[in-house]
Symmetry: C2
Subunit: 243 residues, 2 copies
DNA sequence: GAGTGGTCTAGACCACGAG
DNA sequence: TCGTGGTCTAGACCACTCA
């Protein structure tokens, strides 16, 4: 027995692919679509949720459902330095930054490899594009490496932006983990995404040449718009001795 | 106003964290939980869907909802050779493999960098663990590099397994892209996952030292159980000239 | 057959956006 | 204010698992 929401999603997906529904165009209201497809509104909404997760449709509360322009636009490039250098997170028009001082706890202890309650600075970044938030990053830095220094004094947003762009001692290693999970309530609010969407959760640790973890980043990207790319140039044609 | 499904999910999450609900334990039936929390069944189910997406709860049709054992267990390690060498996809108890011959089309053309309709071999792998499927991989190889050779003759599953483990000419580069998206109907069936879960979609291209793409892999992992790890050893302390 | 989750219905009421 | 999507209700019927 065919699942009705899948049938509806297939039909709409087809209409988008063939150009019957054009990029940027508004779909009929959910109520009307429900009548047309002869299903209840929850069923129709679950069909739209599929297309939304695929990045084909964008829902805007109070306005309607829109065919999204082409493919995914937010790109995280792994293996680099900080997410905000060298365009690793795609050109953000505006970045809102703030810092907080706190002690290491939970997985941050393991991630940074520091003793519990070590002084850290949290740098919270919300990147915007086209007036919409499109990524959320929490960067944790040992206090002595932070822009405020040991004191942990407040730092202006402008100064923080400059600090993120400054050159740093060379890194030896980047470790990254990528997961898909439902957004937390704060994240649905900050990113203005539906709670039925998954987010890409990127956890990143940067290790310097002395083996110290100089930065840990928790990055959250909306699953309908984001890709993470990783490029690994393999070192040398020899040293191929694995099991 | 608090969202009821979030309140319920928070409460159950807390019970799991504090050990009131133990690992492997069955939760009360959805009908009973709905009565206890004084919500309708769809609302209660949406609360469970959140916990399922977080990997805390596993739903089994006809049996119930169970507290999952600890953390995510399926690990994809990026940057390596093929996904099935050197345990890059965690130890699979059983792998079902089959091949199909086809011509390159769609994104495969771009991914492999071959002319349209070039002969390819598709190797379909379904990995099982604990009797449950836990990953789905489609590996595309130019026909002349495939285990069947130019002829495209059928190859036994055993021979395919051996072929995947064989050493290959050295690679120069691995390109990987990770995305979260809802599962396609075939994927919910093959992986036996709920359609409300996201999957981790890993697309991978392996380039040899001549610049030829010798393999492209489309890997689908259940979002509630899977992590992708990437480790990048940065080459040298110099060459830090970026803009 | 009894109990479970999977899908769906036909509404209700609230919150957001634009005129 | 009106139309939109967001959340929720109180059921129904089907499919799966196990005794």
């Amino acid at each position: 027995m065919p699942i009705r929401r899948q049938v509806i999603a297939d039909d709409l997906r087809n209409q988008i692919a063939t150009g019957q529904l054009k990029t940027g165009e508004r779909l009929p209201s959910e109520a009307l679509l429900a009548v047309q497809y002869e299903v209840s509104t929850p069923t129709l909404r679950s069909a739209l949720a599929l297309l939304q997760g695929e990045g084909l449709v964008e829902k805007i509360h109070g306005k309607g459902n829109f065919v999204r322009h082409g493919r995914r636009r937010i790109t995280y490039v792994g293996g680099g330095r900080t997410p905000f250098r060298a365009g690793q997170i795609v050109s953000a028009e505006r970045i809102t930054i703030s810092t907080t001082n706190l002690g290491a706890e939970g997985h941050l202890v393991a991630l940074l490899g520091v003793p519990p309650h070590s002084p850290l600075t949290e740098i919270l970044c919300i990147c915007h594009e086209d007036g919409m938030p499109h990524s959320l990053a929490r960067i944790y830095v040992p206090r002595d490496l932070s822009p405020a220094g040991e004191s942990g004094a407040p730092v202006s947003e402008q100064r923080l932006g400059a600090w993120l762009g400054e050159p740093r001692p060379p890194l030896a290693e980047i470790r990254e983990r990528v997961t898909a999970r439902p957004p937390k309530p704060e994240e649905t609010a900050a990113l203005r995404i539906s709670s039925s969407l998954a987010v890409l959760d990127v956890t990143r640790a940067a290790v310097d040449t002395t083996g110290r973890v100089v930065e840990a980043t928790l990055l959250v990207l909306p699953g309908d718009r984001a890709d993470a790319y990783f490029l690994n140039q393999l070192p040398s044609p020899q040293a191929e001795n694995d099991g």
